[in-house]
């Protein structure tokens, strides 16, 4: 398959700060790709390298086979949905959406027709005459999306696209973005610090930390088979068991990740632990456990009888739930 975006040993350093450090990355054509990581991990800088707002200090970038470094943003067939939407406040919604076409020299009639089509695509038909300031956050998000899509980019970049929306709207937009991407077939690359968002929307996820990619894989790979302790912990806050404990339990000397939902609490289980805390979160209750001078977290579904703080309980898990991370030290 053709690659939409290719990073070969790409670095972006600001003096001593290595925002992006020797990154190799391939985003496939037509893929919904997520760049996940905490703030300052290099995900946004990577996105800006693709958009052309930043130039790499070293390495090589290709967009659909064409060299991208040195090419200014306005000569790349790539469009961005900005975190703050960046709608032009002095223009109507229609002029905002038609801006790219206006710059490209498309006639007024044609570009307004295309702008209206794009507004229909994001389910805002007839909103053209309004001012961006008269729209809600979710509507602005859609206008920003229409403004980018109307130019038929080869790659659409989304910078924390749902960050400013409330929970309900965010879930709705997640589904819409996903189905929009599938029906248009455009490569979407989006940046997020929300692991739930990355797992639910993306075909593949790259997990960033300290300017480097920790792991690239399908959401299932990332969640079930994390390569490093960082990935295990950042994607779904896993329990990380140190190598000596794993040696004793599984006979192998490597760190292992154990998902909280895989930890069972019940009388017949294999190990002894003490309950140190309980926190109710709705559908599940998070149980903190002291196990061999370690801190473990278990999730107990609502409706199951709960232990009390200070109780001695038996805990256990399936051998397959213990994921060894032999690569990451």
């Amino acid at each position: 398959m053709q690659s939409a975006v290719l990073f070969k040993n790409v670095s972006r350093h600001y003096g001593e700060v290595r925002a992006v450090d020797a990154v190799d990355l391939e985003v496939r054509a037509g893929e919904f790709f997520a760049m996940l990581g905490p703030s300052g991990s290099g995900k946004t800088t990577s996105l800006r390298l693709i958009a052309g707002f930043e130039q790499p200090t070293a390495g090589h970038i290709e967009i659909f086979g064409e060299t991208a470094e040195g090419v200014p943003p306005y000569r790349r067939n790539v469009n961005t949905v900005f975190q703050d939407y960046a709608l032009f406040p002095h223009m109507s919604v229609r002029d905002n959406v038609a801006y790219g076409l206006m710059i490209a020299g498309t006639g007024k009639k044609e570009r307004f027709a295309k702008a209206e089509e794009a507004l229909e695509l994001v389910r805002l038909p007839g909103y053209g005459d309004r001012a961006p300031s008269a729209l809600s956050g979710g509507q602005r998000q859609r206008v920003a999306l229409a403004r980018a899509l109307v130019n038929q980019p080869k790659v659409l970049l989304l910078d924390e696209p749902l960050g400013a929306l409330d929970l309900k709207l965010r879930e709705q937009m997640q589904e819409e973005l996903k189905s929009l991407q599938q029906s248009l077939g455009i490569t979407f690359i989006f940046v997020t610090h929300d692991q739930g968002e990355a797992l639910s929307m993306a075909d593949r996820v790259a997990v960033f930390d300290h300017g480097r990619i920790q792991q690239v894989g399908t959401p299932e790979d990332i969640y079930q088979r994390p390569d490093t302790a960082f990935v295990a912990d950042f994607v779904g806050s896993s329990n990380i068991l140190p190598a000596d404990v794993v040696q004793e339990l599984a006979g192998k000397g490597a760190q292992a990740s154990l998902r909280p939902e895989a930890v069972r609490i019940g009388p017949g289980e294999a190990h002894e632990a003490t309950v140190t805390g309980l926190s109710y979160t709705g559908a599940v209750t998070r149980v903190s456990l002291a196990f061999r001078e370690m801190h473990l977290t278990a999730l107990v579904a609502a409706g199951t009888p709960l232990p009390e703080r200070g109780d001695s309980v038996r805990i256990g898990w399936d051998a397959s739930a213990l994921h060894l991370m032999e690569r990451g030290a």
Binding site: F53, Y74, T80, F82, A86, F88, P89, H90, I103, P132
Partner: protein, 271 residues
């Protein structure tokens, strides 16, 4: 709170406010009234009679026209210089980070904080050292020092309120630097520049101190008025000119006020 707004102010406060306003504005009214007086040698109250002839006399005086033309030229050119330099400087300070940025910002604002007399002396000795003959251009240079500040202040405030990603969004949508300037940057800072320019024009138009130090034989309108006051002939002509000055400076300032007041909508961040 609406109740606070509708509650009537006590009588004493009303009288005090009225007296304050009268103190500020009655003298200006007097200037206007003296423009119509029939007494030409001294300002006599009440005016012995009223006449419109001073308007005709003023119209016929070439020295008034010369001073007015020079003042308009100086104000226009120094405003133009200020708009270009002030907005460029504001763009640099508001939109990029570089070593010494705050110092530059302070140095740009300093001329308006410095007493005009210092600016005047400094410029005069600088012109003298550099052997530059005094002309309209030395006056313009002097005025530009404080006009730049006014434009800079307006533009920098607007730039700071304008989201930086607007420029990136424009570039992202295919616009090069010039197209971005034309379609995004200018429409967003346009009213701020216009307001700053109007204030700069008004400041330059009635400036006396810096002008006295940087002018040679040329007389701007305020300088002409100053000289006219010591002359005992046709005094009301000065008052007629004063009315013109008030109009020429007041209207731009009023305009600038309205432009920046609505500016929030124009330059709003979009959030």
């Amino acid at each position: 709170m609406p109740s606070d707004r509708t509650r009537k102010a006590p009588l004493g406060l009303k009288i005090a406010a009225g007296l304050g306003l009268a103190f500020l504005h009655l003298p200006i009214l007097l200037i206007f009234i003296y423009a119509f007086t029939t007494e030409e040698k001294s300002y006599q109250w009440p005016p012995p009679g009223l006449t419109l002839k001073w308007f005709a006399v003023t119209w016929e005086r070439p020295d008034v026209w010369q001073a007015l033309t020079l003042s308009l030229q100086v104000a226009a050119v120094s405003t133009a210089i200020a708009v270009v330099l002030g907005s460029l400087c504001a763009a640099a300070v508001a939109k990029s980070h570089f070593f010494g940025r705050e110092v530059i910002s302070l140095l740009v604002i300093l001329p308006i904080a410095l007493p005009g007399i210092i600016t005047g002396i400094a410029l005069r000795s600088a012109f003298h050292l550099a052997d530059i003959p005094y002309s309209m251009w030395t006056i313009i240079l002097g005025h530009a020092t404080f006009c730049v500040v006014v434009v800079y202040n307006n533009a920098v405030a607007r730039f700071r309120r304008t989201s930086g990603s607007l420029i990136e969004a424009s570039m992202d949508l295919g616009a090069n630097g010039f197209q971005t300037l034309r379609h995004v940057i200018l429409p967003n800072i346009g009213t701020a520049l216009l307001a700053g320019g109007m204030l700069a024009f008004a400041l330059s138009f009635d400036e006396v101190i810096v002008t006295t130090f940087t002018a040679g034989q040329q007389q701007t309108l305020p300088i002409w008025m100053l000289e006219e006051l010591v002359r005992p002939r046709q005094r009301p002509v000065t008052n007629v000119v004063a009315m013109v000055v008030v109009l020429v400076t007041f209207l731009p300032i009023l305009g600038a006020y309205y432009l920046t007041r609505d500016g929030d909508k124009v330059a709003g961040h979009g959030k």
